[in-house]
């Protein structure tokens, strides 16, 4: 079933296959091997049964648990949901500490902790809670605006502005998150989301700025071009991996940098570069090439990108669960040797998986290029590829988990911008909080120890990203 060492090490944990070999047919560098022992639903159950049967002698009793009892038992146990939630809380607490350290006034007040303990704690609380409230107001809903709208002092669009910003930020992250999650299920770690997204932005952006067709033609054409170029960039990785055994982590890191440099060269070329500007920027994207906004209002930036992202997640979910290719992909992830024996073409599956991942990341780049970016520039994408890795890990590499994680990260980003504007706390803090969330989620044992969680009777959070 699985051939990963930490699980083998546990007695009775594997339906031990006799041919215990290295997990991947990679003669080259395979130290970056990802354990695809996934937190996926079906698999987690397998782990569960295998691990638990010797310990719980009466499994039929467990099935009879009433909902209320199950809820009570799971509430403070190390299941995925509780661990994720507590990891977020922990990360926000750490973020609060950093805010205090980073703010000169509050930091100085701490020198008087012994003289004015009440004021010190009060100031700190006021500062941190205001900042996080601003974050919430910028990401979900601002009660003040709702109130003003109720009294007809502002438009209804203002009320939806925070949500719109969250969705706008979430769309590319969901795409790049899926681009990491899909290959992860095949045992491949795609660090190349950034490069694939850049190629996608080049493809989509070029169609968007060079052609002037009716929007109904040009938009799908741009999206297609983005997916195609990103897919090619991913396919290159897959083919090299399948043919030569070169490791995808190294390949994708290198291709990220190559794509970045290529973008820097591309936007300076004649026909692409804006002739009226002296800096490195392309011609503006044509209106007919832009993804249409969900609500045609200049304030609400949310566009078709988020719809496409959710559709892509649905498609990936269907593919992984029901599709033939999805089955082959997961089989290769579980045990490539067994998959090969069963007649699955491992190399082809790897190449196509990476192509699919590249196409998804390419769509992420396109959704920025045709959605929110006015033109192509070298830093238009920020770090969406790398943030996509975090999104995928937080979403436990399941398609709908990625959607949830993408929305959370989008909300943090949108809220972070509001926090910077209103509380003067730099938006860079968001990156730290995001990284901390993923770090904690990846080490459930740590979260479990900090909060003294019970061992979950139902779910094995251990089967998450931790090996062991």
């Amino acid at each position: 079933m699985t051939s990963h060492e930490p699980i083998e090490a546990e007695p009775g944990a594997t339906a031990a296959s006799p041919d215990k070999g290295p997990a991947l047919p990679t003669p080259g560098v395979d130290q970056y091997h990802v354990d695809p022992a996934l937190p996926a639903a079906g698999q987690a159950e397998h782990h569960d049964q295998a691990e638990r049967q010797p310990k719980h002698r009466a499994p039929e009793k467990e099935e009879k648990r009433s909902f209320a009892r199950a809820f009570r038992e799971e509430l403070w146990a190390d299941n995925n949901f509780t661990v994720t939630l507590l990891a977020i809380v922990l990360a926000l607490i750490c973020g609060g500490v950093l805010m205090v350290v980073g703010n000169a006034e509050v930091r100085d007040q701490w020198q008087y902790l012994l003289y004015q303990p009440g004021k010190t704690i009060g100031d700190t609380w006021a500062f941190v809670s205001t900042a996080y409230t601003d974050m919430f107001k910028g990401a979900v809903v601002n009660p003040d605006t709702v109130n003003r709208w109720y009294w007809n002092m502002t438009t209804w669009q203002q009320v939806f502005y925070p949500i719109s910003e969250t969705l706008t930020n979430a769309a590319p992250l969901i795409f790049t998150g899926l681009a990491v999650a899909v290959p992860f299920r095949a045992g491949l770690f795609n660090i190349g989301g950034q490069g694939q997204a850049i190629m996608g932005a080049i493809g989509g952006g070029t169609v968007g700025l060079a052609l002037s067709l009716p929007a109904i033609v040009q938009v799908p054409l741009g999206v297609l071009a983005g997916a195609l170029l990103g897919g090619l960039w991913g396919y290159l990785v897959g083919v090299l991996k399948a043919r030569t055994g070169a490791h995808e982590v190294i390949l994708t890191i290198m291709l990220n940098n190559i794509a970045f440099l290529f973008l820097g060269w591309f936007i300076l070329q004649q026909g692409i570069k804006d002739p009226n500007r002296s800096d490195a920027i392309s011609k503006p994207i044509q209106e007919s090439g832009k993804l249409p906004q969900l609500i045609p209002d200049p304030l609400l930036r949310a566009n078709l990108g988020i719809v496409l992202a959710v559709l892509a997640a649905a498609g990936v979910a269907w593919l992984l669960k029901r599709g033939r290719f999805g089955f082959e992909l997961r089989a290769v992830g579980h045990n490539p040797h067994a998959a090969a024996t069963a007649g699955i073409k491992v190399g082809t599956t790897i190449a196509l998986t990476m192509a699919l991942a590249g196409a998804l990341a390419g769509l992420g780049g396109t959704s920025v290029a045709l959605g929110t970016a006015p033109a192509l520039t070298v830093d238009m994408l920020g770090q969406i590829g790398f943030n996509g890795i975090l999104v995928a890990l937080l979403g436990r590499v399941r398609p709908w988990g990625v959607v949830g994680a993408g929305l959370l990260f989008g909300a943090l980003q949108a809220g972070g911008n509001a926090m910077q504007t209103f509380s003067g706390v730099s938006v860079e803090l968001v990156g730290v909080i995001q990284a901390l969330i993923v770090l904690f989620v990846a080490a459930p044992a740590l979260v479990k120890a900090i909060y003294r969680l019970r061992r979950s009777p139902a779910a094995a959070a251990q089967a998450g990203l931790a090996k062991g």
Binding site: V29, W265, L393, K467
Partner: protein, 417 residues
């Protein structure tokens, strides 16, 4: 391996394949560069400036001659199927010099290349890569994957600038830089070794973490008051009296500072320590076969902790290069990918300190060359030159230049039992 012994060796070995590529490159250089080159002389000056002693090569002649050198080396590889390293080096050098003769002879700005300056620029560009890749070697030889080099360099740069300014003492800043790198390494160690989280995952997350944290404090603390928090001063230069006058390599190697001398010393010390001491033997044993090492009484996890921290010290110290040598002061995301090139250099150097050193120099050379070609307004886009290190690494890991093999237990957490 024993299976391979029975099979007769195929004709298209690695050397012959590479030879074929070199023949193509040689033909390209001879015909295309030769045709494009101008009649002006390409001048190679020995010193750090364009004046002074040097030698001239007529443009067209040089482009064709060195193209033929590359061609000959390629043919030799094809025919003999041997001498991979030497012939590849000769062919590549021939190709590069041929290209230089072409570019310099047609340049509208200058026909002179100051070799001393190029050598110095190469080494300077290589310094952070050397420290970073050594950090990678130390980590990975003991079986912990270090993708967090970028973050370690960045943390080092930040700590160096911050504490160098706060204490008003440059050297304390350097110490703080090393400690900063080690602190980030400590997180890597705890999550990878204690909590058994996938090491690549931790590394990637730590890069984001370090980038965000340093950028946050840069925005909150350093930017509002640069003088108080971000003004560490610049490292003094320590030229060696006579040796720094040596043509070409003198300015590079003997007109240095603590970073350049330190990088050379670190390479020597780490090489000796890894291959000639008890600690080195144990480290390699733990990296290759932790269970066997455990059996003979080596504390696998303890050694891994120590090595990961040591790697952080080295990489963090190297990170101070960015905020204390190349510029004065920290700015956010200033490492901008050097950590990943260092990772590439480590792989290119086959997890060996000396290999990593030369790979770093190789990558540094392309950096220097890019700068030079820009300065003579070469039509070759600098972006494509900057891609060369990454392309070279792809060729290396794809086995086209030579198979690289990681320590066997690299990336695999060790659970006793």
């Amino acid at each position: 391996m024993d299976v391979e012994l029975a099979v007769p060796e195929a004709y298209w070995t690695r050397t012959r394949k590479t030879g074929a590529v070199m023949v193509v490159l040689g033909l390209l250089a001879t015909i295309v560069f030769g045709a494009l080159a101008g009649s002006e002389n390409a001048r190679f000056a020995l010193g750090e400036t364009v004046d002074g002693a040097g030698f001239d090569i007529p443009g067209t002649f040089g482009a064709i001659f060195f193209g033929l050198v590359a061609l000959a080396a390629g043919v030799a590889m094809l025919v003999t199927g041997r001498y991979f390293g030497v012939l590849t080096g000769v062919a590549l050098m021939g190709f590069i010099i041929s290209a230089l003769c072409w570019q310099m002879s047609v340049s509208p700005v200058s026909h002179t290349m100051p070799l001393g300056f190029i050598a110095a620029a190469t080494f300077t560009a290589a310094i952070p890569l050397i420290f970073g890749s050594l950090g990678g070697v130390l980590c990975e030889r003991s079986g912990v994957v270090n993708v967090a080099i970028e973050g370690q360099l960045l943390t080092g740069a930040f700590f160096g600038a911050l504490f160098g300014t706060l204490t008003g003492n440059f050297w304390l800043g350097l110490v703080a830089a090393a400690v900063g790198g080690a602190l980030l390494s400590a997180i890597l160690a705890v999550f990878a070794i204690k909590y058994l989280v996938d090491q690549v995952v931790v590394g990637i997350v730590l890069n984001v973490f370090a980038g965000g944290l340093t950028a946050f404090f840069y925005e909150q603390v350093m930017r509002p008051d640069t003088d108080a928090y971000n003004f560490p001063g610049k490292v003094p230069s320590w030229p060696v009296p006579v040796l720094s006058e040596i043509p070409i390599i003198g300015p590079a190697l003997f007109n240095g500072n603590i970073f350049s001398y330190g990088s050379l010393i670190a390479v020597v010390v780490i090489t000796i320590a890894l291959f000639r001491t008890r600690w080195g033997l144990r480290t390699r044993a733990v990296g290759e076969h932790p269970a066997a090492a455990d059996t003979v009484g080596i504390r696998v996890l303890g050694l891994r902790y120590a090595n990961v921290l040591l790697a952080g010290l080295v990489a963090g110290f190297g990170g101070a290069y960015f905020s204390m040598l190349s510029t004065t002061g920290f700015s956010k995301y200033m490492v901008s990918g050097a950590g990943f090139i260092a990772l590439a250099a480590m792989i290119f150097g086959r997890w060996h300190p000396v290999g990593a050193f030369f790979a770093s120099l190789f990558f540094g050379f392309f950096g220097a060359l890019t700068g030079f070609l820009n300065s003579i307004s070469s039509p070759i886009p600098s972006q494509f030159l900057s891609m060369l290190p990454y392309l070279a690494t792809i060729f290396a890991v794809a086995g086209l230049v030579g198979r690289v093999r990681a320590p066997a237990a690299d990336g695999k957490p060790y659970v006793k039992g």
